[in-house]
């Protein structure tokens, strides 16, 4: 059997995630101090786990309705309304998905025809570009810059819009930079898109994890709800990554079609997770606040530590990553990460895994205990000292 002949050209052309390589190296080494993960170190709040156990005990293990349990959709609708002031009808404007990732996939597949352009700010999460490419769409990259605090600027967006632009992805709060968009930052973007047929996919999976300001969603701006698909989920805010549960909200006319893809590909999202998620939305505000406070202390600790070490580090406003600049070492991001991993057994992710514009930066996750972070910082300090001595 000649498998090379039967693999689809599109699948073959996909590049594996740039994070994978470091995972593979780290797996072969002993005692690696990882700063590489993209998920919380906290356990899912006990109330949520207990609800899942109860669900199993009651034998609630059958499929749910395709768009998810109505009771969960109602809860999501209330939650979004409380956070943003925007109302979505649980009947037709909300689909419960397998993580935020499926919601992104559904949105792109429901909207994009071969040749359609999708604008993607980078550095950003690794999935947007491959998903767009699989549909035959054309990713159009906008590089965000440290001097703009890695925000998307309306003038950069304007330059990239053509008559083939169908979708703009807004990945904020951002993985890997920690950048956020405030209402003032979003308004000119909204102004640019009002009155066009360009849709927005706003990926707000980190919306609960913002530090100095409350998160602002573009759906709360005038005229934006009708041109936006809003994606969020339970993974980051409620420390529920393995439960695989997210959701998408948007115009009925789009979700009607996305739901068919979900129905044929997934059927319905995990039932036990759905029941547990109702509990998360109802009773976990304090758990979330405690996690946010702890992340905030770690964020400040790491930014201060990297700046002291001479790796200039922008103060991220959201998510759980810092994104220090490593240009002062004279190494590329990839070289930096590889050498740090081999010589000090500390794993960080090169900025280039999130787009070419991540060159010169590394992503450091602070979803680790303060003790673990301190240990890693000490190792990085040793590494930098040795680099200096070598030169």
């Amino acid at each position: 059997m000649d498998y090379s002949k039967i693999i689809s050209k599109k699948a073959e052309a996909l590049k594996p995630s740039g994070i994978r390589k470091y995972f593979d190296i780290a797996a072969k080494l002993d005692n690696v101090i990882s700063l590489g993960v993209g998920e919380p170190d906290f356990r899912t709040p006990w109330a949520v786990r207990r609800e899942a156990i109860r669900t199993l005990e009651r034998g609630k293990t059958v499929y749910t309705a395709n768009p998810g349990l109505m009771s969960l959709r109602k809860e999501i609708s209330e939650y979004i309304n409380k956070k943003t002031g925007v109302s979505y009808d649980p009947d037709g404007e909300i689909i419960v998905t397998v993580g935020g990732s499926e919601a992104i996939d559904l949105t792109v597949r429901a909207l994009i025809e071969p040749g359609d352009e999708v604008i993607i700010p980078e550095p950003s999460f690794v999935c947007y570009k491959p998903i767009v490419e699989l549909t035959g769409g054309i990713p159009v990259i906008i590089e965000t810059k440290e001097e703009d605090c890695f925000k998307l600027r309306a003038d950069s967006l304007k330059e990239k819009i053509t008559d083939r632009t169908k979708l703009v992805i807004l990945p904020f709060p951002n993985n890997p930079t920690g950048a956020v968009m405030t209402r003032e930052d979003l308004e000119p973007i909204a102004e640019l898109l009002r009155g066009t047929d360009i849709m927005i996919l706003t990926d707000e999976i980190y919306s609960e994890l913002t530090y100095d300001h409350k998160h602002c969603s573009i759906i709360s701006l005038d005229g934006m709800k009708e041109r936006t698909v809003y994606v969020n989920g339970f993974s980051k805010a409620f420390a529920m990554t393995g439960w695989r549960l997210g959701y998408m909200c948007g115009p009925r006319e789009i979700l009607r079609h996305a739901l068919k893809i979900h129905q044929f590909g997934i059927m319905s999202s995990p039932t036990v997770s759905q029941y547990a998620a109702i509990e998360a939305l109802r009773s976990c505000d304090e758990d979330v606040q405690n996690m946010v406070d702890e992340y905030d202390s770690r964020r400040r600790y790491l930014v201060d530590a990297f700046n002291r070490l001479g790796l200039s580090c922008f103060m991220p406003q959201g998510a759980f990553y810092v994104f220090p600049c490593i240009r002062s070492t004279g190494l590329t991001s990839d070289e930096f990460c590889e050498r740090l991993l081999y010589s000090k057994r500390v794993a960080v992710i090169p900025g280039t895994a999130f787009g070419e514009s991540g060159e010169g930066y590394v992503r450091v996750s602070y979803a680790y205990s303060r003790k673990h972070l301190k240990e890693a910082v000490e190792k990085i300090a040793e590494f930098l000292k040795e680099l200096e001595n070598d030169n």
């Binding site: 994070i19 995972f23 780290a26 170190d41 702890e294 400040r300």
Partner: protein, 157 residues
């Protein structure tokens, strides 16, 4: 809970400069605030959590449930304060439910606990009954897990 308390609760040994970084304040502000909290009696002290099995292996701990008759004017306070005087007593709580005072004891032996209960506690005027529970294993204290947790099996994504 205030962020400063959250940090100190899990690690009271953080220096003022470390606290300042994590809170986004100056070291002087942190020092001043802590001094005031200590002065006002909000911060009562700093203690260390250690593995009792290693450090205090010559001790036994017990919780004594006490039923008492409250006294006119002072209620439960007088009796609770009397009990709190003893150096063997680590904590005293007034609780709701089937009994009134929960007293935590640390002694050198089972015999010492039983002597303490029989001779000191049970004889206090107003104490109606006592029930003694010995500690077998401690799993969590002050929000900190004292038993090994599972290894971190998250992968890089």
């Amino acid at each position: 809970m205030d962020k400063l308390f959250k940090l100190l609760r899990t690690n009271a040994r953080l220096s003022n400069s470390e606290l300042a970084v994590m809170l986004g304040q100056t070291e002087e502000e942190v020092a001043e605030r802590i001094a005031k909290l200590e002065r006002d009696g909000v911060i009562k002290g700093y203690s260390t959590l250690f593995d009792e099995e290693i450090v205090s292996k010559d001790y036994v701990r017990a919780i004594i449930e006490l039923k008492v008759t409250p006294k006119a004017q002072v209620g439960y306070d007088e009796i609770a304060k009397t009990i709190a005087q003893y150096s063997e007593v680590e904590s005293v709580y007034l609780v709701s439910g089937g009994y009134d005072l929960s007293v935590m004891l640390r002694c050198h032996s089972l015999k010492e606990v039983s002597d303490y209960v029989a001779q000191r506690l049970a004889t206090i005027d107003g104490v109606v009954s006592t029930t003694t529970h010995f500690f077998l294993q401690k799993y969590k204290e002050s929000g900190i897990m004292l038993v090994d947790e599972d290894a971190d099996d998250r992968v890089m994504q």
